[in-house]
């Protein structure tokens, strides 16, 4: 009888811990380090219809307790992702959440339709919040009506539950959350990165070739926590929380404010074993809090 298992739309999780999209590729590299079947789920890198080369380098820069990235949704395209990457992941006992991106609604719909048919894809994560591409991505995530329409269009074709990934770069994230719920979303994942910039100390120009990048890591955790807190109060669909998670305590904080599961992004670059480490440390944390099953923590901030 596990103390960590969790059931979410489409997902039977051994535990509520999963690497965040873009921070784990398609799992191959981390598979060299540990058994991926330990993970609750894997959120794979954003997939688009076509092969994407991404932005010029430098694509990353360090900031105080955080980092900026402007990868630009580089990925091999849906064909390769399905034929090679998802195939590879089939050898592990772990549900995949496929991160879906595109430039037009039609792109999202096509990727969603096809990738949701893969046997190990148990849910989709609609990326309407990537700040690093000129078209597609974030502009779907800043207007409630557009977000709702896109969600509905994808829901109509997806064979698995659809989670929508929200951008923190908005005046009112609750409006967007309610809109995607109204559009039929089965769950919400949040937050994507905050738009930021670092300046080269000598040249005075942006360090990141793209100019701006997305801020992630411990620095953004307070922003993410507050947003999950607010969204939890406003919607009736589950939330997968993320933003600056580095340890078991962070997971507990996110669940306290209302997340049903938690994704780990940037921390995978710093401690490459952070996900299995957190999973291992959680039971002791539950003991310390006098809690039997981790689900008891969900939303306790509000009680």
């Amino acid at each position: 009888m596990s103390r960590l298992n969790m059931t979410l739309p489409g997902l039977e999780l051994k535990n509520p811990i999963m690497p965040a999209s873009g921070c784990f590729g398609f799992g191959r590299e981390y598979a060299q380090l540990y058994d991926l079947s330990k993970l609750g789920a894997i959120m794979i890198k954003a997939t688009t219809v076509e092969t994407r080369r991404g932005n010029p380098t430098p694509r990353v820069a360090e900031t105080a307790a955080g980092m900026l990235n402007a990868i630009g949704l580089q990925n091999p395209g849906i064909d390769k992702v399905m034929n090679e990457e998802l195939k590879f992941l089939e050898s592990y006992d772990v549900p995949i959440i496929a991160n879906v991106a595109g430039t037009e609604i039609e792109d999202y719909v096509e990727v969603a339709r096809r990738i949701s048919a893969a046997p190990n894809v148990h849910a989709l994560e609609l990326n309407i919040s990537c700040p690093n591409v000129k078209c597609g991505g974030i502009q779907f995530g800043t207007d409630p009506e557009t977000a709702k329409q896109l969600t509905a269009a994808v829901k109509a074709v997806s064979e698995v539950p659809v989670y929508v990934k929200l951008s923190p770069n908005v005046t009112n994230i609750v409006d967007i959350a309610k809109a995607v719920e109204a559009g039929g979303a089965d769950g919400i994942t949040m937050i994507n990165t905050l738009v930021g910039m670092r300046i080269h100390e000598h040249t005075g120009k942006p360090v990141i070739a793209n100019g701006t990048g997305g801020l992630s890591g411990p620095a953004v955790k307070p922003v993410a926590i507050r947003m999950v807190y607010d969204v939890y109060k406003a919607v009736n669909i589950p939330i997968i929380g993320m933003g600056g998670v580095t340890c078991a305590q962070d997971v507990i904080d996110f669940m306290s404010v209302g997340a049903s599961a938690v994704a780990v992004g940037t921390a995978n670059f710093v401690d490459h074993f952070v996900c299995p480490n957190i999973i291992e440390q959680l039971p002791a944390k539950l003991d310390a809090l006098g809690v039997n099953h981790i689900s008891e923590l969900i939303g306790r901030s509000h009680r």
Binding site: C23, G54, V60, M67, T246, H272
Partner: protein, 257 residues
């Protein structure tokens, strides 16, 4: 196999202006080859957050020790330089594909061209080439004499020529100026240093077999984040390589310079 390990500081020494030599001990030394690098967490806190990629400059498998040589410049490397004997340093490695020693045959001559903090990995490479019976010539470029290091070590392994930007050591100018002067004869070159140097080298010896080590800003260091991609010269559309996991060493001509 890449491992993550707290390695023990055996010695830390400043060997030139802002240049430090750090020797660490631990099991992951067993799998190291020249030209590979390690990804180092310099503090226990979030500050600085990311690991720092540093090349492997010397490998001693018997003692399970390796050495890195680095410039303490930014926050991360400055913190690294405060580590003292007996302290533990969190190292991920060894990472990447190093220099192919087997591409130089016993009796042949290898030209090793390094610039600045690109010089360190050439030291272990030179040792292994020499051990294999390969004749080694070094051409090393530095900003100035005060940041130059390992003169004795390189001289012991083969002919060593210097270029410094300000002329305080060896030829005044760049490594290419040394090529003009010395006209070294060789079968294969190995190189590590700043991009302009690699570019110049490729142009200088268009017909020679060669291997070059690249640098790019990194996050994960293992191929998962797509931070460190470089365009390739040929191949299908949108072909790229990742410096961390496909490199850092590539045969000449693979990476678009």
């Amino acid at each position: 196999m890449i491992r993550q390990q707290k390695m023990t500081v055996v010695a830390q020494k400043q060997i030139a202006t802002n240049i430090f030599e750090l020797t660490l001990q631990g099991e992951l030394v067993q799998e190291m080859t020249p030209g590979q690098f390690v990804h180092v967490k310099v503090s226990d806190s979030y500050e600085p957050l990311l690991r720092r990629p540093i090349s492997i400059a010397n490998i001693d498998k018997d003692k399970q020790e390796f050495t890195m040589i680095y410039r303490a410049e930014g926050r991360g490397t400055q913190i690294l330089s405060t580590n003292r004997e007996g302290q533990l340093v969190d190292v991920l490695g060894p990472i990447g594909n190093g220099f192919p020693v087997e591409e130089a045959q016993p009796g042949q001559t290898a030209l090793l061209v390094g610039g600045g903090i690109g010089v360190p990995p050439l030291h272990e490479l030179s040792k292994q080439l020499k051990a294999r019976g390969v004749n080694v010539i070094h051409v090393l470029g530095f900003q100035s004499e005060d940041v130059c290091f390992y003169e004795e070590q390189f001289s012991a392994l083969g002919d060593t020529h210097y270029a410094t930007v300000d002329g305080t050591k060896g030829t005044k100018g760049f490594v290419t100026t040394v090529f003009d002067d010395v006209a070294p004869q060789f079968d294969v070159f190995y190189s590590c240093g700043p991009l302009p140097m690699l570019r110049a080298l490729e142009q200088y010896y268009p017909d020679k077999k060669g291997f070059m080590s690249f640098e790019e800003r990194m996050a994960c260091g293992i191929g998962a984040c797509f931070a460190c991609v470089c365009d390739t010269t040929e191949g299908q559309d949108k072909a790229y390589v990742k410096v961390c996991s496909d490199g850092p060493v590539f045969p000449k001509g693979v990476v678009a310079l």
